[in-house]
Amino acid sequence: MATLIFAEHQDGALDPATARVVAGAKALGEPIDVVLMGHQIDGAARQAAEIDGVSRVLVADNEAYQHVLAENVSKVLVELSGEYTHLLASASTTGKNVLPRVAALKDVSPLTDVIAIESSDTFRRPIYAGSAIATVKSLDALKIVSLRATAFEPAGQQSAASIEPVTVVEVSTTSRFVSEARPEGERPELTSAGVVVSGGRGMGNGENFKLLEAVADKLGAAIGASRAAVDAGYVPNDMQVGQTGKIVAPELYIAVGISGSIQHLAGMKDSRVIVAINNDDEAPIFKVADYGLVGDLFEVLPELAQKL
């Protein structure tokens, strides 16, 4: 009876979400092992060993795992999972890429984006982009679960647990890594930004999004848009925040010229602080806003950019 956490790493450092997943796993009350797969990841392994609650860190160090291709690492996890009752990971793009693959090979129905662990087989997760919360009970002997890391406070530190190598080597030739680009110095990515400034149809055209950029520059914010603004052709689809776009939950979300359709609210209502700027006093966005400012965005935005 133990839990295995599939942890990620980047540039030799452990993914900070790992400490949050470990904290979540503690609710299961079983020994917790962490497995890392990659190449030359000793530093990340040491960091994992020092997370409070971790019994053992398993390290599969092989060139084949360098880019954590789902086809390779899922097979290792299948090999390892026999000893465990729970396999957890962060509900990151990597976690979501890998866990379902393991689940299919183990004939398990996996659970995605869990925000609370009620018991060893019962979990809570958002559905309909967070418009409802489902409590679900897994009937499988092995539970395969990705956790929304931000829903858990990170675990503390301990003196290092043991680190053991995993010798399983699985090399799939069906897919190959080509390249990776992580833009630096530019605007933060929408789903991980601490502050998001979004524009809606009220912006009038794509050119006017420059007004948002001035505000975003001051706040180090990402820029989003409502589906209405995307449908109107102001900005590209990948800036869309909402049920059909990105789901964001930053510390601060500033909605400008966005009326607040159901589908937009589904994508941002878990933000910690919401500011709405709109000239329509009746706009539904004000119902979810902590701070509402009724006014002409073309006057408000330049003033805001100046005063921040």
């Binding site: 979501k96 890429n97 984006d113 897919s175 059909t244 400012l293």
Partner: protein, 249 residues
Amino acid sequence: MKVLVAVKRVIDYNVKVRVKPDNSDVDLTNVKMAMNPFCEIAVEEAVQLKERGIASEVVAVTVGPKAAQEQLRTALALGADRAIHLETDEVVESLGVAKLLKKVVEDEQPNLVLMGKQSIDTDNNQTGQMLSALMGWAQATFASKVAIEGDTATVEREIDGGLQTLSLNLPAVITTDLRLNEPRYAKLPDIMKAKKKPVDTRAVADLGVDIAPRVELVRVELPTERQEGVRVGSVDELVDKLKNEAKVI
């Protein structure tokens, strides 16, 4: 080459979700339904592959109740050549859908399966990965760019904080993200034409696939509602509140 594109009937993205009074599930009675938006992107990509002369045939497939035929008709109106409807009134989990799709893949032998990265109802983001695993194929999830050359697909995918490019041997499963394309709207003549395109309906019960649920839905509830905050009278007041009250800037 042949492209199989899987689509799902879900609640329309613009409908407010209601929960049944007994908290047993969401209430979909008399709710407007539509094709899952990420599936629309998958259909668009498949149709574009055909328009570029890369795909020779686009086959749409769905697992769902009788009414899900509407979404297959939508796929046909958007440019799919024919459709397969695996009909069931049961709720089928991702694992069951993956197993059913595996059956179709074995029959149809497509070179590529395109699917949405997730459906906007259960938000699982699983089925594509699971189908790929069951087939022993390569996968590329969160695709934002797909280039096919011979037996290889080069796929740019959206990962946390950046983009990753993979090269996959075909056949493979690719799941779509938002940036991949902008789905077209079906034109009226195409909607009329779609009514004449073939839809092959098969009862899921006859396929001998284990779709027994592995996850029990215990309870569904609305999240805690946000309380409406305060109105501020000026930009100065807003900046002051953000700095000194909310302490977020």
